[in-house]
Each structure stands twice: as C-alpha cells, then as structure tokens.
Symmetry: C2
Subunit: 345 residues, 2 copies
C-alpha cells in the first residue's frame, strides 16, 4: 500500500430546516478531510450529482419514507463518480460508478453499495435520469399501477422532466394517448415535437383548465401524479370511471408548512373516488425492484434505437447546487437537473 495523501471534499451540508420554500441560507458550503480507506471502501471523485424533488422532503423533520438529513450533515443525493482508490476487490482506479454520495466533490463509500457503469453502453449521466431512478419511477409506476391500455388517455404533469417525459413515451409505446402538462410554450412545443406527445397543455396559460379539457376529449384513464396543486385540481373532474392515479410526487406541496386554507377539498375528492371507482396509489420506486432488469433492457434498447428521447439540464460546480435545487422546485429547469461537479475525464 502506498502512503495516501489526504483528500479534501467540498460539501453542501444542511445548515437549517426550511420554513416553506428553501433558501440558500438553509445550505452551507464546507471543506472536510476525508478519512483513510478501510477494507471494503472506495474513494471516488464525484462527476455528476442528481437534483430531485424528493430531496425537499429530506430537509424537513416530518415523518416520511426515509429519515431526514440531520442539521450539519451532507445533503443526500444520487451521484456518478470515478474511483480514485479502492480497497474493495470489485473496483479499481478509473472505474465509473453509481453511488449515493450526496452533495459533495469526493467521498469514501462502501463498495457494497456501488454499481459499476460502462460509459460505452450509455452516457454516464443517464444513470441518474432516464436510465436511473426517475426513469424507473416512470416505468414501474406507469406499468404496475397505471396499467395503460391501448386507446386510453394518459396525462402527466412536469412532463419535460425526467419522470414525466418517460411516462409519456412509455404510454405511447403501450398504444395509449399521451397528454403532457408543462410550464410555457417552449416546453409544450418540445413535448409535441421532440417527445411525440399527442397533446401538450401549458399550465401557465390563463385558459389552462379549458385547454386541458379540450386535450382529453375521451377523458383521462391514467393520471400520473407528480405535482399536485392546481394541476391535480383540473385533472380530477376529467378522470374516467376506473381511472388509475399512481402518486409518486407532490412537488406543489413540498413547501407547505401547514395545511392550506380551505375550503376542505378532501370530502369532494373522496366522493369522486367513490363515484368514479378511482384507484389512488402512492408508491416509491424501491417497491418494484423486481422490474429493474426489464426497465434497463427496455429503455436502454429504445434509446439505442433512437426511439426514446431525454433531455438534461446541467449546472456547473457543487457550490451552485443549492440555487439549482431551489429553481427545480419552482419548475425553472428544462429536463433532468444535474450538477456537473467535475469533468468526466
């Protein structure tokens, strides 16, 4: 073993819990010396950090499906990295890996939790988006819960994002009609022209509700719920009998500190569930792990054949992660939001 020089990691830690929408004050940049490797561990430099809406939940202490980030801890997140040094027999210097290393430049990680990536198969960054957690969320939630049938209508919001864009394209492959909701004419044009959605509706337009109704002349059979808020409110009356609503996110509500003012829409919502025999089903992607092989095979195949599009939105430098994340919660990104922490090579 050679003597190792001490490696420093530039980190974004949680400085305080947000009250409503996060601000840059809730984050703090730190530099720490990483410990030396012990057996089974791997030192990596981070290349890409994924920014995803679920991270807002981890900033709060409210009960959720995962423990919150503690004050002073590094923000959690999926990353692509490259091995600098390894004391795990499965990895050697130069290997590219998928890791949950969080918002930092370097990390010491347990080799047992890494997955090796082959840059020849697909661009490295896709393992955080279309071929990663967001793509798998779309694939598993749509097919297992949404179960779109030929000729049915599937609606998804945040449709240019990594989950929504995959939902629409997979729905098309199942013979369904795909209708996307996005903010602004540029994103809507992208849905129709680049992703092949049958219709796109701008939720910022003053006549959004009317536009949506026109876009779904036969009603809605599957509403893939990843936003909540006013979009969900407009969708609800259009759901057909036996419609399915996979719920994977509620970005419109992540900043709610308390229940919004009334009227109380819950009784009306439940009446709709009853009258229309609706299925509302929350899920987290980890539930469907047994489908992961099918997902990788299908979607990577479609990408290689040029029949599946995706879009990435990069910001450079770990120090810019907080601002990019705040923008993500406001819908400012256009495509999968990634921080380029370092160059690939």
């Amino acid at each position: 073993m050679s003597v190792e020089s001490i490696v420093q990691s530039t980190q974004i830690v949680l400085a305080s819990r947000p009250d409503g929408a996060p601000t840059t004050d809730n984050f703090r940049l730190e530099a720490v010396n990483l410990p030396e490797l012990t057996d089974g561990e791997v030192l990596i430099r981070i290349i890409y950090l994924s920014l995803d809406p679920y991270m807002r939940g981890r900033m709060s202490s409210a009960e959720s499906y995962a423990d919150p980030v503690e004050i002073g801890e590094v923000m959690v997140g999926g990353t692509v990295g490259q091995v600098i040094n390894s004391r795990h027999q499965g990895f050697e210097s130069g290997d590219y890996v998928l890791a949950s290393a969080g918002w930092q430049s370097h990390a010491v990680v347990d080799g047992a939790h890494l997955r090796k990536l082959d840059p020849a198969v697909a661009p490295l960054s896709t393992s955080l988006g279309v071929l990663g957690m967001p793509g798998f969320t779309a694939y598993s939630g749509l097919l297992k819960i949404g179960q779109p049938q030929e000729g049915e209508t599937v609606v998804v919001a945040a449709a240019t994002g990594p989950v929504g864009s995959a939902v629409g394209q997979i729905a098309k492959r199942k013979g369904a009609r795909a209708v996307g909701i996005a903010g602004g004419p540029e994103k809507c044009a992208y849905l129709r022209d680049e992703l092949g959605f049958d219709a796109a509706v701008d939720h910022k337009a003053p006549d959004f509700v009317e536009q949506l109704r026109t876009a779904v002349p036969d009603g809605i059979d599957v509403y893939f719920e990843n936003v909540g808020g006013e979009v969900a409110e407009a969708v609800l009356p259009l759901l057909n009998q036996y419609a399915r609503v996979p719920v994977c996110g509620l970005i419109a509500h992540y900043n709610d500190a308390t229940a919004p003012e009334g009227p109380d829409r819950l009784p009306g919502f439940l009446s709709r569930v009853l009258v229309k025999s609706l299925t509302i089903r929350g899920f987290i992607v980890s539930e469907f792990e047994s489908m992961y092989g099918d997902f990788l095979r299908d979607v990577s195949g479609w990408i290689r054949e040029g029949r599946f599009a995706y879009r990435e939105d990069f910001v450079d430098g770990i120090e810019n992660a907080p601002t990019a994340f705040i923008g993500l919660l406001e819908g400012k990104n256009f495509g999968k939001m990634l921080v380029r922490v370092a160059e690939e090579s």
Copy 2:
C-alpha cells in the same frame, strides 16, 4: 285470462331535493292505480323495503354513478315481494322475489329483472342485507381490494350495520384482526360479544382518537371506508405502509351541500398516500358480479353453520320509510334497516 281488478300502490315519491340533511318535506305519500300487466310483466306486493345510505345520493341531481330520482318519481330501493299475478312464464302467484321496486306497496315489474327467492334457504329479509347488496359489498370490496392477510388489522366503521358487520366477520375468517367502530357502548358491546370483533371503539366517546390508537397497536392494514368524516380523519395517521382503503360509502358527507370549511386537508391526505404507499380505491358492488356465486355460497354456508351473525332493524309501514331513512343517515338504526311493508303471508 280473468278480468283483473285495479290494484292501487301506496308510494313514497321524491317531493323536492334536500338542501343538506333530508327532511320529511322532501318526500310525499301518494296512491296510484297500477297499469294492467302486459306480456312479460309481473304484479307483486312488497313485503320488505331496504333502506340504504346510497339513496341519499339519488335524491340529489349531482353527477353520480347512477341517475338521480326525478321529482315526483318513486324513491328507488331494493325490495322483497310476492307475486300476485304474472304474465312472465318464470313466475307464478305466490312466488317470493327480489326486485328493485322502490318505496311502495305494490308494483308492476319486468319479470326479466326479478330473482326468485326460496324462503327455506334463508329468511326472506336477508336477501336485502347479509345475503344481499350490503353483504356482497362487504365481501367483494374486502376480498378484492382490501385483501386482508393473516395477522393484519382490518378497521371498519358503522360496524353494526349490514356492510360493517360482514366486513369484520369476513376479516376474521381470513385470519385478520377485526376492529369495529360504532356509536355508543351498546353497539360496541354487540361487536365484541355477538360478532366476535377483536376490539370495538365508540366514536361518540370523548377520547375516541386515543381509544382507536390503543385498539390497533400494530397499525391498520385495511380500512374499509363507508363513513368518511371524523372517523376517517382519526384512521388516516394509523394506516401502515401499503395499507388498502376500499371506499364504498361516505355517509358523513352525503348531506354536504358545499365543500366544508378549511383548512384544506387534501394535500396532507395525498402526502400520506405517497409517504405510506397507500391504495385508495372506490368501488360499486356491480363491478364484482363475477364473485356473486362465491359470495352466496360462502356467506349462506357460514350462516347455516351458525358462524356468521347479522342483525335487522325493522320499521313497520311504508309511510314510515322517510323518518326511518333520515334516522339511518344519523346512525340511529342498529342493524340492517328494513321497512316491513306487509306481512310475509
């Protein structure tokens, strides 16, 4: 053909649509001459009329899964009758039949919509309760959507009613723990002592929320939703991951004319759906018709073996149907609510 004398039917018709809770002013008693039979028709005298919460929905013009009763029309409802005269080859005078003849003393009905009843198999009234639509609602919704597993906890409200009492007893048969919610100590004692529920909770008790929590030490895996309101509010935080909520009724909200005052609980509800991977599924019993044979075989078998209890709450005279129905919506009945319109023989 003999000359038929004209038969008069005493009917309860919808006089006006209720604004909030129905009053007796919304109903009107009428006497009408029934038409003579044409081919395929059957004249029946009604013996039992079933009163069920869904009828409140039919009194309103809001969109629902069935058309509303029009002003001046006879109120809809399931009935047990006896054939007086028949021009349908499947029925003859004296036969007992199940019919959707509504709130009246006599009716001319299409023989194609009748089902013959054998009073030797089970008491005639049970075809409107434990062996009828309410029992089948419990059986199909619990088994198809609730899917209780051995050792899981099933909670149902209005638990002494015809749906709730069947839900609890079927849950027990599947090896689950059954917890019933009912109003008052007498009903709670009946749940424990007569129906074999593992625990009973009084929703009128001041410490109801605390009582419920104590009654479900391992949380709730299936909540059979037939009431909504404060009971649902207390249940929601206790639902386990992957819990299932079949929604067959919302009696607490049937009289809501507008959305209740805030705060708006819908975002919090959906967050819970997401965080706990809940399944919320509305249904109407007609969806599961293919299970009807299994239902009749199982439940009538359990009743014959003395292993399945049910309770009926009779009121005498069609003219008393409105008051009994109003009481039903307030939870005043104790057991399946039936109007005895005439003696069996």
